[in-house]
Structures are given as C-alpha cells and as structure tokens.
Subunit: 365 residues, 2 copies
C-alpha cells in the first residue's frame, strides 16, 4: 500500500478529527476508498476508539432512490440513533463514478434530503471531517492521469498543517484587526470593509471549526464593496462553465457584470435574490500544495496565491455573536489569481504582493 | 448486471427477510458484494423501507483489531443504537480474501467478540438473514472457477422456496410424529429417538425461524442413539481435514470411533466435554440445487440426499418449551451421502430410499 495512504489517515485521525480513546467513530467509506478505510481503521484502533464503517455508495443510493415511490420516512430511527450516539464522523469520499446519481430526478434527491434533515444535523453535531481518496473517477473528473491525480491530492493533503495553521493565524490577525481590504491587479481594483468581522482559520481541523481535508484558507465576511474585480480562474456553476467574469460594485452591490463564457449563468446567479448581488465571503487561499486548478472548488479555492470572493450567503462564524450577515439562497465562489502583478492591501499596507506574503522571504512592500 | 443478482435480491428481501414498508433495514456489504448491494438497495426501495448500508470488510477489521491495544469497550453506543433500532439486518458476505483475518490473534478476536455480545444480541433480535455474493475469493475457497462458482451459488439460492418449504413440511411432520429414526447404508446402521422433539423446517425465511440463504434442511435433536455411522463426505474442522470417519454409539454415547484422516482432530472434538460424545442434531439435507460438496458447511449440510449428524450442542427450538437438550461447547456437523444404496426409516417405515423420498415419483418402499 502507498505509504501516503497511511500518512493521509494519520493527518485525518490525529490532526483533523482529534480522535481519542473511547470515541465512537463512524467512517463512511466510498465505493473505491477501501485502502484509505483500512489505514483509517488501523489508526482508529491505535487510538483505542470504537469503529463502525458505513458503505457510502452512489450506485446503491441511486438504485434505492429510483425504486422508492411515495414519501420518504422522516429520519429513520436506526440511522438517526447511529449518528446521535457518534462522537466522530469521517467521510472518505471516492466513488466509482462521479455522476453515479445523474439519472435520479432532482426532486427525489431533494425530498430524501429534506426527510433526513435530523440525521444530517446529528452528523454535523459530531466532530466530523470530510476528505477524499484519489480514485480513477476522481482523476477523470479532474482531467488527469490516475498517478498524476494521486500526486495532486496527496500534495494538497499531506501538509505540515501545524505550521500552515500558524501562518494562517497571521493572516487571520491582519484581517481581524484591519478595516479595509483592497485587491489590485490587471482589470481589478476593489475595496471592501472587514470592520467588526472575524476571520476563520480553516486549517482542516475540528479544533479550528474546519471540517474539510484538504483545506487551507482564511475567510471572512466583507461588506461595503466598491470597485471592479476580474476572475481569471475558470469555474463551473451547477455544471455550467463561467470564464473571465467581471463584477463591478457600488455601495456593496453588483451594478455591472460581464463574462466571456457563461454570462447568462452569472446573470441567473445574481438575480437569485437581493443578497446574491452582495459579497458573502472573502477568502485567501494559502495551501501551496495545490498547484493547479481542477474545476473542483474543494481544491481550487484553497490554492495558494489566490483570492476568492463569493456572492451570496455569509457564514455566521465571521459575524459578531447573534448578528447575521448577508443572506441569500446562493453562495457562489469566484477565484482570482494573485501570483503575479498583484497586491492585497489592508488599511493601506501591502500584505501580499505577486504571491508573496509580507512575512515571507523576498517580500517587497 | 447478471439477472441472477436481481433474483437473489428478490428472494432475500421478499421470501427470506419479508421486508415491509417503513422497516428500518441495515445491509452489511462485503468488500466484493457491491453488485448484490445495488440490487438489494433497489428492492428495499421498492418495498418503501429505510436503508442503511454498513461496510463489512475483513481487511478493515483486521487493521483495526491488530492496532487496538488493551481492553475493548463494551458494546459501543453508536453501533448498539443502530442495531437496537433496526427491524431487519441483511448480511451480504463476499470478501476479497477468505483468510483476511488470518494474522489476528485468536484471543484478540475472542476478546472483541465478547465485548460486543450486546450488539450481537441486538442483531439476532431483528429479522436477520445471512447470505453470500459469489466472489473470486469464494470460488477459490470452494476450489472452483469463478463462473462455475457463480452457477453453484445461484443454483443453491434461486430455488422455488415456497414449494421446497411445503416438501420440507412433510419431512418435519414425519419426524415430529415419529419416535425412532433409523439410517442404513454400507457400514452404517444407526437408530435414534426423536420422541418428544420438534423438527425445524429450515427454508431460508424468518417466517420459519430460518436465517440463512441458501438453506434447505429439516433438523431435530435426537437422543438415545445406538449403532454405527460412516461419514463419507469430506469435512474440515477448524481448518483441519477429517475423512471417512466412523462413530459407534451405545446408550446415546460414542463408545468407539476412527477416521482415515484426522482421527486426532475427531478425538479432540469428542474429548471436549461430556456432551461432545452425544448427538445434538439430526439434519436431512433437501436442497437439490446443491449438487456437490465444497467444504463449506453452509452448503454441504443442505445438499439434497444427504443426512448429517452433529455431536455436541442441541438447538432449543427442537426441544419442549423450557427444556434444554444436549449441552456442549462444540457442535460439529458430519455428513453421510444418502443418494445410493441407503435408506432412512421412521418407526420401521421407509421414508427415503436411494435418494428418493416416499412422496416422490420412483419411490420404492
């Protein structure tokens, strides 16, 4: 077995989920995630925790959902009891076919999802972490060869998370203490307020309220946005491509936009509701293990030397206790490359220039 | 997908487990039992029941058990809650390697098993059925080619169970109403009492208290055995072979024995305790879909035109309410071929001769 699979399990169990002696652990195993499940099983055993493995199969779910007629029962007691009694839930994604449920009608998936809200809440109430095992289906989705994709995933996952968390803490402090963020590059000059907002250090550990492995971004909830941004990183929204989009803000709202590809898709997003024209997130990608865009937002938005802005819903964690930020039915991340001829300023001081942060060697203010 | 996989799922869900609308169903999926899981998922959906799939992996279990040090927690709450809230448990065996746990020390497996007694009881408290999906590992264990093994398994599983249950009911009535069973063939002439005992019609359905698919035997708990039996069907006990064994009974106890191969293994069995020298079971194999011996007792003892006797523990279901029968730490089935030059009599009347029952065409008393 590839030694990196064991290292992945170590990061997941120790850094991300912080599994301890006596914990009741549920591990969801994707159809092709067997090898990672074996390594995780070993690690959970070492920790003296208790293991139950769930088979998380898109093909079984498809067959079940398509055959089921009429209403779904609400929160079946056996599954609800499992998660209500779990301390840790680890999701090892990795199926045989990324589009295994393509022919399940959307309304059936939504009805099932709605009927099992209590189960989903019980899962979110645990120390849960979601990761993925590199499979051939995943490689195909990313447009890569299998071994190439394995390297890509492990480069993103097998970081020195402790030192990355410390570095991300610097960025968090700057954003927390700052008032105004400005991003400048070709076709881009935008400012936004982060006054009174709290940034999240998303470093792939439940200890930091970060539940994805890999992660590696610091994000907050900006407001009062002014100016223009050009998003040069390709993206897809609900399976449709958007390329080279531009947003222009006045008084916190999008007042103009265009895109070389998918302008209509972008228009639909912005027309969803009032909140869809305001920003919900400013995120700074700091995972330099991710070295290319693959069209998977899980990786793309974490890539080192990128910044993403999301129109739509803001996360409560970024707002003062009891306050809620921008509200919307959507949250669509859009990414801009900060590696060259670019700078990010906070309150007039340059924090990052041409992909180098101010605490790094070679930084020039 | 092989149409027989869907037929297998139909038999399992409808005939064996009797899954109904609203049932909370747990399906344990062996490492290579994916295709059967898909077919079962579809069927469970059709019935309007609720599905949770558990990944039942010998390799994950091995890794977990070997890494775990110290005592196991008793009945972890999450797994116990799952099975306590389940109505139906379906086990789809079918791993990658039949000996996946070969290097887990026996005492570790026993300690884990002992610590999870409550979970096992909760599972046995449901309408549970155990079946197996034909895998390459299973084929190898049976000494067959893969396609040959698939045919073998489906021939055993895809019976007309309703009509076989009716035929087995005849056998049950004969044994229930009879007092003395006699088995006669070359080197064999043995009598035993079945007075006051109740036979079980094991026809692979929870409606008959039969929990294995395939099944196909009628069994009871005999006593007062006299005479000699020759067991010409090869068998293994704890991985060791026994061939052409002979037991001689007087007053219900084994007073003499020998075997061409594995006589020492047989001696160990008989020396286990007092009950190990008395019979715990007389079983009549009636599944004619099983046409050869494979060394798997699940199939061998159900084979049509065989009779098996087990030394050791008797099943409570065969005994009058509140009474317990022969007690022992072992229950070792031994099989004799009844297809040729043989007869079974009950109270002096021939019930089966040369592999033909008295209700079948061609029977000669």
């Amino acid at each position: 077995m590839d030694e990196r699979i064991h290292e992945h399990a170590d990061v997941l169990v120790d850094w991300s989920a912080r599994v301890e002696d006596g914990d009741d652990v549920v591990v969801l195993v994707g159809e092709e995630a067997h090898d990672l499940a074996v390594a995780v099983g070993e690690k959970v055993g070492e920790r003296g925790a208790n293991l139950l493995t769930v088979y998380d199969s898109g093909e079984v779910t498809r067959a079940y959902l398509r055959a089921h007629e009429g209403d779904f029962d609400e929160d079946p007691a056996h599954e609800l009891a499992l998660y209500e009694n779990a301390d840790v839930v680890l999701v090892l994604a990795g199926g045989r076919n990324a589009t295994a449920k393509a022919d399940v009608p959307g309304e059936v998936q939504q009805a099932h999802s709605k009927a099992t809200t209590g189960i989903q809440e019980a899962r979110l109430g645990t120390d849960w972490v979601s990761t993925l095992h590199p499979t051939r289906a995943g490689a195909q989705q990313a447009g890569m060869a299998y071994e190439e994709y394995q390297d890509f995933v492990y480069d993103a996952v097998l970081r020195d998370w402790e030192s990355l968390a410390e570095e991300m803490a610097r960025m968090k402090t700057i954003l927390d203490e700052g008032s105004e963020v400005r991003i400048v590059k070709e076709n881009t000059d935008v400012t936004m307020s982060v006054e009174g907002r709290t940034a999240v250090n998303s470093c792939a550990s439940v200890a930091y309220d970060s539940h994805n492995l890999p992660s590696g971004e610091v994000f907050t909830a900006p407001h009062a946005t002014e100016g223009e941004v050009f998003f040069d990183v390709p993206m897809t929204h609900r399976g449709k491509r958007i390329r080279n989009a531009r947003l222009a803000f006045e008084g916190g709202e999008v007042v103009d936009f265009d895109a070389e590809v998918g302008e209509d898709v972008l228009a639909d997003v912005l027309d969803t509701d009032d909140g869809a024209r305001r920003l919900g997130e400013l995120g700074v990608g700091m995972n330099r293990g991710i070295d290319r865009f693959t069209g998977s937002i899980l990786f793309d938005e974490k890539m080192g030397d990128t910044v993403h802005l999301a129109v739509g819903r803001a996360y409560d964690a970024c707002l003062p206790e009891g306050e809620s930020g921008n509200d919307s039915a959507v949250h669509v991340d859009m990414i801009t490359d900060m590696s060259e001829r670019s700078r990010m300023e906070v309150d007039g001081e340059v924090v990052q220039r041409d992909g180098t942060f101010r605490w790094e060697d070679g930084f020039e203010a």
